[in-house]
């Protein structure tokens, strides 16, 4: 069935990203407006807005399965794209769509369920002879059991939420005395984030690389991969900079890992886009970690090097079309790097920086792609993820991609809030990052300063503050009348006035 209308059950940059492809394919887009950001930028890209502002439910709007399904039905919408949110990995949601005759853009509920449950996913990987880390191979019932198994595997171990992802519900345990505390932290966090408190443990590989493969499959049994992504620049398991390809892989390893990823997907009759995540240790041995059964934030770097539109593929596959491309058609061209621009204060431990974005100005060039969810006067609210935009830069090789990214970051101007831009600059300029020899401990172990600072920055800051202060003093001295009545006036306007006195 041809999809003519699409409900995008998400917000921010991913909604805008999906709208772009939907427009290209002539599909009418519907989206959801919430009372938490009634003037959000993504709303301006939609053909029709469904208003959820009156929601009094405890469940956040984008997690309200029944209301979303009901909205799609009453507006006679053909399909739903969940973006990369929680619903994208909810087998229940996919099932409900199916029951109501709405096309869910994503894999089958069965695939989501199997791969979403980490214990089952591991069994599947094991059946395909894909290497796994030692672990509990099942959910844990108590700290006591955890301690027993941890003793067998050997410390350090990592506690993970069975239904988890994105670093939530994950705790590293270094010694047996920490088990009680970490078990409690991980399971309550898992309960909060995923409504499922079950956790499991596995051997913790110190300082691995995080490598993932983009998979795409159709409903006719064809599955290919679009190469790997290097996602080792992470802080507390949150990815901050991703690139494709990875400097750690050669053709051989790429083929072995790519085949492993495809085999895992094949075993669940997977269709749509998905990502198979691996850990790669110091000896270049890889281990299956998990599979994400959805589009991911960093899908854009794979698009930039393969020239494919993954959202378009997802929509066509959902319509039942067969993949036109074969594995041999996939050519990785050049290098692409994605910097996540988050509204965070790097100097205050990456804490969320809320507030009004006065102005934003993007760098422009042929090799720059910006997927943004904000514009002038957008507000960063505490209700949603802190990512406000993604900067994706291409280069003919890694070195070029890095220098192009730095140029772009220098011209990426935001006024009103603090962002991760100074952090991204500092990573891209780091010797270790440039060398390609880095792993997930990079930020913690290698970075002395988490933000980039030019040598004259502090002096210029001192000057700016002094200038403003002196201007205010000067007005007091020369006029004696506070014409502005204490109103905040730009020191530069003030300066001009002073000069013309």
């Amino acid at each position: 069935m041809k999809i003519k209308s699409l409900l995008i059950a998400n917000r921010g940059e991913i909604t805008i990203r999906i709208c772009r492809t939907a427009k290209k394919l002539g599909i009418k887009t519907y989206g959801i407006k919430t009372s938490k950001e009634p003037n959000a930028y993504y709303l301006t890209f939609l053909d029709e807005i469904i208003d959820f502002s009156d929601s009094l439910e405890d469940i956040p709007e984008f997690l309200d399965v029944e209301r979303i399904v009901y909205a799609a039905k009453t507006h006679k919408i053909n399909a739903i794209h969940p973006g990369y949110g929680f619903l994208a990995e909810s087998p229940y949601f996919a099932q409900r769509c199916e029951e109501e005759g709405i096309i869910f853009i994503g894999p089958s509920p069965q695939s989501i369920y199997k791969m979403g449950n980490k214990t089952i996913a591991k069994q599947i990987a094991n059946s395909q002879k894909v290497p796994l880390l030692k672990g509990s191979h099942g959910n844990l019932s108590s700290p006591k059991e955890t301690r027993e198994i941890a003793g067998k595997i050997g410390y350090p171990v990592i506690l993970k939420a069975a239904a988890g992802g994105g670093g939530r519900g994950m705790r590293i345990v270094e010694k047996s005395s920490q088990i009680e505390k970490m078990y409690k932290l991980a399971s309550t966090e898992a309960e909060k984030a995923f409504n499922d408190s079950s956790v499991f443990i596995e051997k913790y590989v110190r300082n691995p690389k995080h490598i993932e493969f983009q998979i795409i499959g159709d409903k006719h049994g064809n599955i290919i991969h679009l190469g790997e992504r290097e996602c080792s620049v992470q802080r507390k398991h949150q990815k901050l900079i991703e690139e494709s390809p990875s400097p750690a892989l050669d053709e051989n390893l790429r083929k072995t890992m790519g085949d492993a990823a495809i085999n895992i997907a094949m075993a669940t009759k997977y269709y749509s886009a998905g990502t198979v995540e691996f850990l790669l240790d110091d000896d270049n041995k890889f281990y299956f970690m998990e599979m994400n059964t959805r589009i991911q934030v960093e899908h854009s770097v794979s698009e930039e090097i393969t020239g494919l539109d993954i959202i378009e593929l997802q929509i066509k596959i959902a319509q039942g079309e067969e993949l036109e491309i074969k594995q041999k058609d996939i050519k990785m061209k050049g290098w692409a790097i994605e910097c996540r621009i988050n509204a965070e204060d790097v100097q205050a431990g990456f804490s969320p920086y809320l507030g009004l974005i006065d102005k934003v100005q993007y760098p422009r060039s042929k090799n720059i792609r910006i997927d943004t969810g904000i514009t002038d006067s957008s507000v960063v609210t505490p209700y949603f993820d802190s990512m406000i935009a993604k900067l994706i830069v291409h280069g003919e090789n890694r070195e070029k991609a890095i220098s192009n990214s730095l140029n772009a970051l220098n011209k990426f101007w935001i006024k009103g809030i603090k962002t991760t831009i100074p952090f991204c600059k500092s990573v891209l300029m780091h010797k270790k990052f440039k060398s390609g020899d880095f792993n997930t401990s990079f930020i913690e172990k290698e970075m002395r300063l988490l933000y980039h600072q030019d040598k004259d920055d502090e002096m210029l800051a001192a000057y700016l503050a002094t200038f403003d202060f002196a201007a205010a003093l000067e007005t007091d001295r020369t006029t004696h009348i506070d014409f502005e009545q204490g109103k905040n006036i730009s020191p530069w306007v003030l300066n001009k006035r002073l000069r013309s006195l």
């Binding site: 670093g167 939530r168 932290l185 309550t188 966090e189 909060k192 984030a193 507390k236 204060d345 100097q347 205050a348 431990g349 804490s351 969320p352 809320l354 006065d358 102005k359 100005q361 505490p382 993820d385 802190s386 101007w413 935001i414 006024k415 009103g416 603090k418 962002t419 831009i421 100074p422 933000y451 980039h452 600072q453 030019d454 004259d456 920055d457 502090e458 002096m459 210029l460 800051a461 001192a462 000057y463 700016l464 503050a465 002094t466 200038f467 403003d468 202060f469 002196a470 201007a471 003093l473 000067e474 020369t478 006029t479 730009s490 020191p491 530069w492 300066n495 002073l498 000069r499 006195l501």
Partner: protein, 180 residues
Amino acid sequence: MKLKKSKEADTEYIAVSSQNKKYKIINPFSENIKINSKKVDIKIFDDENGFTYILYKRKKYLVEIVEKSQNKYTVLINGVSYTFSIETPISYKRKKYLDKNKLKSKIELIGAPMPGKIVDILIDSGAKVKEGEAVLILEAMKMQNEIIAPVSGIVKKIFVRREDIVNKEDVLVEIEKQKS
């Protein structure tokens, strides 16, 4: 009546950073700016898009004043913040005097590093805590963050309860320092 421009004498300011680094700035408005006795050529511009930038040594620096209260300033240079207090030569002398005679406080307040919800309190009032020990769990943007005691001492007061919503820098716990 015509107002006279005070042009004759040099005007001097001292910007003191939060790490106590000093910048002596002379004649900030003039063509003859001196910073730490060196002549510098700095210009400030407002562009047509509403951004303010400094031009220095042919490089552009995006700048913004994010906070000011009396002589205390927080400014951003290319997205990184710096905090200064701006002093005149007279007020600087006074500040130095006051700093030297400041009483060393025994009380340490733990503030919220970010807005969020208190999901767990791990200590009781009156309890002994060690530096580095977790005292609270604060949930923000769906992540659970441990709030750590910055010093060893005795918990004098807990200002929050479970499920409380807190803002950034809200005081959470008061600790009386003790030598460990």
